[in-house]
């Protein structure tokens, strides 16, 4: 991607959690920025703060100190309603545990963010079917999550994340519950989306398979950035 527009800027970010009567520092002075269209990942040992950082970028949590500016808005200063709106319109989430809504069909799960956007029924239907086409699940539109394999569920989750054509997709360990074949499958899907729609992807992962696809790898250790490498290769 040629565009150099910055979509995420993180400055001197500190995040602490109360632990008994002491404080635990999960993120300690993070400085990072991501341009539109990046396909990058946070790696590092368990407990290094990957999920915490992703949650802050996703406006689900707020910084203790410093700031995280996402698509022009400072996360800690957004009202609840504005944050919800930002997540609804511009940020897609993919979780390790898929987190599909169990009583909804595939179609209804993917449709959910569009319902919140109050999109018309006709447009919703078209967008959902396009998204399902992207992940290759048009024939499972009526299935419930319980009737599908883990790989299929994660593809539904990806369709749900991209159906609204978000600016940013945040994926926390998206392959941790998948076998190798399914992992490659969904990674290829995401890569394809990244290239054709210019969506910015940010992963948090331990998985070597995922790391192989990343174009930028940020290593976190003990809540700090230990290394930040860009790979020019494909």
């Amino acid at each position: 991607m040629e565009s150099n527009k910055t979509v995420i800027t993180i400055r001197n970010l500190v995040k602490t959690f109360p632990m008994g009567n002491r404080e635990f520092t999960a993120l300690n002075g993070i400085n990072l920025s991501f341009a539109k269209g990046e396909f990058s990942g946070l790696v590092g040992p368990s407990g290094s703060g990957k999920t915490t950082l992703l949650n802050i970028i996703g406006t689900l949590d707020s910084p203790t100190e410093g700031e995280a500016i996402v698509l022009g808005d400072s996360v800690g200063e957004l009202s609840q309603k504005k944050a919800a709106n930002l997540r609804n319109m511009k940020i897609g989430f993919v979780f390790q545990t898929f987190n599909l809504l169990p009583v909804y069909s595939t179609f209804e799960n993917v449709e959910f963010p569009l319902l919140l956007q109050k999109m018309s029924a006709a447009n919703r239907k078209k967008s959902v079917m396009d998204a399902l086409d992207w992940v290759g699940l048009t024939d499972k539109a009526k299935s419930r999550p319980a009737q599908m394999s883990g790989g299929e569920c994660q593809r539904v989750a990806i369709a749900r994340a991209i159906v609204k054509k978000p600016e940013i997709v945040l994926a926390d360990e998206p392959t941790a519950n998948l076998d190798a074949e399914n992992s490659h499958n969904i990674l290829k899907t995401m890569e394809k989306l990244n290239q054709s729609l210019g969506t910015t992807f940010l992963f948090a992962t331990h998985d070597e398979k995922v790391i192989g696809y990343l174009k930028r790898i940020i290593k976190l250790v003990d809540g700090k950035v230990a290394s930040d490498e860009i790979f020019a290769k494909k």
Binding site: T51, D61, V103, F112
Partner: protein, 390 residues
């Protein structure tokens, strides 16, 4: 609107659990309406029975007459006003003379009321026309309750003793010419009806009466100093009282039922808020505000009330309608309740009753759903997504 749609999807998706709650809740609709309908039906029926058998369309009482105090009877008569005679002749007004007497069933002595009423009266259903006998004995009527309590059969001769207006004791035989069946105890228990003319003669009170019962026509003119008008409302006030007392006790019953239903919803909602925390976290991640999620869960619980109303309509309307058509058989024991109870009660359902019941149940469902849903607002979405909250 979208919350509504989502709530509906969630409920239908939850399947059996939803239907169990909905079923229990629908029962409370039907039972509340049924019980109240029965009480209303009873009220209507008791009043109409009472009008048909006792009060007519209204009464006129001699000023001293007090049915709750038999000792007033010796002063409770006055000459029948002259203007009444035509209508009495036509049976449109029934003069009644009441006095205390005693009789001796199976060797016991028992106080009763002796009531005189014209044979030709048409204002109450008492079969007065069957009071016929030759002049040697006095024809008399008793109700079934009175007959059963004292082993009286049709054709029996009963010796009665009374005091006339001068306080002199006298005795005579009454031939029971008919036993009538009524739901109205006030014309049945502890009393014998005989022709008015005979009682007047026995009491040495020719042309006098204690009270008058009228049909549809108004009272002719009468002396306001001797007679007091009793309208239907005051004559049937006892029924309202009894029904009110009954409705308090039935209310307790259906409150318990409603409480059970609400507990089921409350329980389901509390459970689901913990079990579904990952779902809640996900919904927030997908762009719902906490307020929206709280509303969604509240609505979801409250929609139990809506679905229950629909279900209640499905089986409740045919059930309630058939009860209204064929009546509810009442146990014999209820005869001793001290007020008119028919063998069958036809429930009456008013629009107000149905509307109030529906609003009441819905409101309660809304409240018990809202209380657990409030907790969602306090949830940390990042924890909820992982399903970690205990």
């Amino acid at each position: 609107m979208i919350t509504f749609k989502l709530a509906f999807r969630n409920l239908v998706g939850a399947g059996l659990r939803t239907w169990l709650n909905v079923f229990v809740l629908s029962l409370s609709y039907v039972v509340i309406i049924y019980m109240n309908g029965m009480l209303d039906g009873w009220n209507v029926q008791a009043k109409s029975d009472m009008m048909n058998w006792d009060t007519g369309q209204g009464q006129l009482w001699q000023k001293n007459y007090d049915p709750s105090d038999p000792f007033t009877l010796q002063d409770s008569f006055d000459p029948i006003p002259a203007d009444f005679n035509t209508m009495i002749g036509e049976g449109k007004i029934a003069p009644v003379l009441v006095t205390m007497a005693s009789f001796y069933p199976e060797g016991r002595i028992q106080s009763i009321l002796l009531k005189g009423i014209p044979e030709n009266q048409k204002v109450i259903e008492l079969p007065t026309a069957s009071m016929t006998a030759d002049s040697s004995s006095i024809p008399g009527l008793v109700g079934k309750r009175m007959a059963e309590a004292n082993k009286i059969k049709k054709g029996d001769v009963i010796t009665i003793r009374w005091r006339d207006r001068n306080g002199t004791f006298d005795a005579a035989d009454v031939l029971i010419t008919a036993i009538f069946e009524t739901n109205v105890p006030t014309v049945d228990g502890g009393q014998i009806w005989i022709p008015l003319s005979r009682l007047q003669k026995m009491m040495q009170l020719p042309g006098e009466a204690t009270l008058f019962i009228r049909g549809k026509s108004d009272w002719p003119s009468f002396g306001k100093d001797q007679w007091i008008v009793k309208d239907l409302k005051s004559l049937t006030a006892d029924i309202d009282q009894v029904i009110k007392a009954k409705s308090v006790s039935t209310s307790i019953l259906y409150l318990i039922l409603l409480l059970l239903a609400m507990l089921a919803i409350f329980d389901t909602q509390v459970l689901s808020i913990f079990r579904r925390q990952r779902e809640i976290g996900t919904q927030i991640a997908l762009g719902m505000t906490r307020g929206q999620v709280v509303r969604l869960f509240t609505l979801e619980g409250a929609m139990n009330g809506v679905l229950a109303a629909l279900l209640a309509a499905v089986y409740g309307i045919p059930f309630l309608a058939s009860q209204a058509k064929y009546g509810i058989p009442m146990p014999k024991a209820s005869n001793s309740m001290g007020m008119a109870i028919a063998e069958k009660i036809f429930p009456v359902y008013s629009v107000g009753l149905v509307v109030v019941t529906i609003c009441f149940v819905m409101l309660t469902a809304l409240v018990v759903s809202y209380i657990p849903a409030r907790r969602i607002a306090k949830m940390n979405p990042t924890e909820a997504i992982k399903g970690k909250i205990q």
